[in-house]
């Protein structure tokens, strides 16, 4: 790609990242449930955009399809079914705020430690060419076929469980 255009691309990626972070703060601070859900959708779309900038188009599209298309829809559906839909504001915090903060900061410390430890090869032989869909398919149905099948079985079990629980009332 051309130098001028890639500079433009870099600026765009940083702008998207900034918007995603602001939206992520919005998810946990906005007092309106529906607005919080919408900002979550923004975060997920921003993540997909970052995936695209890293040439992981397949991952980006799956992110949009699963998270924005399906999971967000379920979340908003749940929000619309709540009785407090018309409330202007709902407190975002409760008494467990401080313990939660401790746990999260511990997790953050571990993550930062690991990130600092990892070597980040940029031009080294550790960087492969972009992973194509074919490579992904070969990995999923070849090397990693066992985890793949286990996940399928777990998902089926979850589905059947959900149906059983939902059916109990009738």
């Amino acid at each position: 790609m051309n130098a001028d255009l890639s500079l433009f691309g870099n600026i765009a990626v940083y702008a998207i990242m900034g918007v995603s972070v602001i939206a992520a703060i919005g998810v946990v601070t906005l007092r309106n449930l529906f607005h919080a859900a919408l900002t979550l959708a923004m975060v997920l779309l921003g993540t997909a955009a970052v995936f695209i900038s890293l040439q992981a188009e397949f991952l980006a599209m799956v992110q949009i399809l699963i998270y924005v298309g399906a999971v967000m829809t379920l979340i908003i559906f749940a929000v619309m079914l709540t009785s407090r839909l018309t409330d202007e504001s709902i407190p975002q915090q409760n008494k467990q705020g401080f313990p939660a903060f401790l746990v999260v900061s511990l997790l953050g410390a571990v993550l930062i430690f690991i990130l600092l430890q990892a070597p980040w090869p940029i031009h080294a032989p550790g960087v492969h060419s972009p992973v194509s869909v074919t490579d992904l398919a070969k990995a999923m149905l070849g090397n990693y076929v066992f985890p793949f099948e286990v996940i399928s079985v777990i998902l089926i079990a979850a589905l059947i469980g959900a149906v059983t629980i939902a059916k109990k009332d009738s």
Binding site: N2, M61, V68, G69, A70, M72, T73, I76, M80
Partner: protein
């Protein structure tokens, strides 16, 4: 003639290349593709409204719009002016942000999808190697905009319409994705261009048993996805005013309308790409074939609207979950069988399996019809 538009773009680019720097030519190349799509989308939508009104008019034994211009050809422009000059009404209790952004956000995915549609030989704006996945992913984000519209309006009918719409879109997305799987298996690619290439020379996927079944399922799910009749429950005007766009007027309403019409075009175009060979066809230029096939499907959609009554909610959900979903699973297996059996055996076996499963599923889905009541004393 075939490469008319491709040559036009190359001509402009080589002319610009004589005096402008390289990065400007690259930028111009993007700009041309983007503006072609940005113009094509609304243009198709405008004349789709006229075509629909004309055809539905004929089906209902009327003439349809014929006052503005010859054959009413300027009617879309008159409608556009009317929409722009109408007052923009925002309900007092509406959520300003959601109400304002919903009509804007609903047009974005509808336009973005145009990027991967192969309009003719070498006429895909962005030939992504994950074209189908892009189409499915981007069109699935429409639900959020519909939710914003229905929730932001603070109107009962809007919320009911939004709920119906999202339940419908989530249900029909699954059989739609699964019915595209055999095509991906057959063409060994997710790219829309490669799928059209795999069908070149009248090897259209619709001519195979699994392709035919998948074509019908995909098209019907597509009709349901863009909330068109007979699946137009979200905006059923006789039940819930206008569903999620009840509280919109003027240009905002026009944007919802625009997204809906562009969606029905892209769904038809995608069906043509996946099953009807895309731009493949003899004699005529490739893009003429593409638009001809697409408008045939759009005609069928309008025909549906002119003839079929609206489904009930339970029928709608039952169709997706109890009929299309099992049939698509069977269809994927049939497609697998097709590639591993002999030329005669595969036709016979896959036809037999599909017809048998169709019969079994229709038998299992047969609705409960109460016995005819006999009146002993009333007569």
């Amino acid at each position: 003639m075939d490469a008319l538009f491709v040559n036009l773009k190359h001509g402009i680019l080589s002319m610009a290349g004589t005096f402008a720097p390289d990065w400007f030519v690259a930028f111009l190349s993007m700009l041309i593709s983007i503006s072609a799509i940005a113009v094509l989308g609304p243009l198709i939508m405008m004349y789709l409204t006229l075509i629909e009104r004309k055809i539905v008019g004929r089906m209902q034994n009327r003439i349809g719009p014929n006052r503005v211009g010859k054959f009413g050809l300027l009617q879309p422009l008159a409608d556009g002016v009317k929409m722009l000059t109408k007052e923009d009404i925002v309900p007092n209790t509406a959520d300003r942000i959601a109400h304002f952004w919903a009509p804007i956000l609903i047009v974005v995915p509808a336009l973005l999808v145009f990027a991967v549609i192969p309009f003719g030989r070498g006429m895909t704006a962005v030939n992504l190697n994950i074209g189908i996945l892009y189409f499915l992913a981007v069109s699935s984000t429409t639900t959020i905009a519909i939710f914003m519209a229905s929730w932001g309006s603070r109107n009962k009918y809007s919320i009911i319409g939004g709920m119906r719409s999202v339940a419908q879109m989530v249900s029909y997305e699954i059989p739609m994705v699964l019915s595209a799987v055999p095509v991906i298996l057959a063409s060994e690619s997710l790219s829309t261009g490669a799928i059209v290439d795999a069908q070149s020379g009248f090897q259209w996927f619709v001519f195979t048993p699994w392709g035919f079944a998948a074509f019908i399922i995909f098209f019907l799910c597509g009709v349901a996805e863009c909330n068109r009749s007979p699946f137009d429950l979200p905006e059923a005007e006789s039940e819930i005013v206008a569903g999620f766009h009840t509280e919109y007027s003027g240009m905002k309403f026009a944007l919802f309308y625009m997204a809906e019409f562009m969606n029905s075009f892209t769904v038809s175009a995608m069906t043509v790409t996946l099953f009807l060979g895309g731009w493949d066809g003899p004699l005529l230029p490739s893009w003429v074939w593409f638009f001809f096939k697409t408008y045939c499907l759009i005609f069928i959609m309008i025909w549906f609207r002119g003839t079929l009554p609206r489904l009930r909610v339970d029928q709608l959900m039952g169709l997706a979950w109890k009929f299309f979903l099992p049939l698509t699973f069977i269809n994927i297996l049939v497609a697998g069988l097709w590639f591993f059996t002999g030329p005669v055996a595969r036709v016979v076996s896959s036809c037999a399996i599909l017809i048998a499963s169709f019969m079994v599923l229709s038998y299992l889905n047969k609705g409960y019809t109460p016995e005819k009541r006999t009146y002993r004393f009333a007569e």
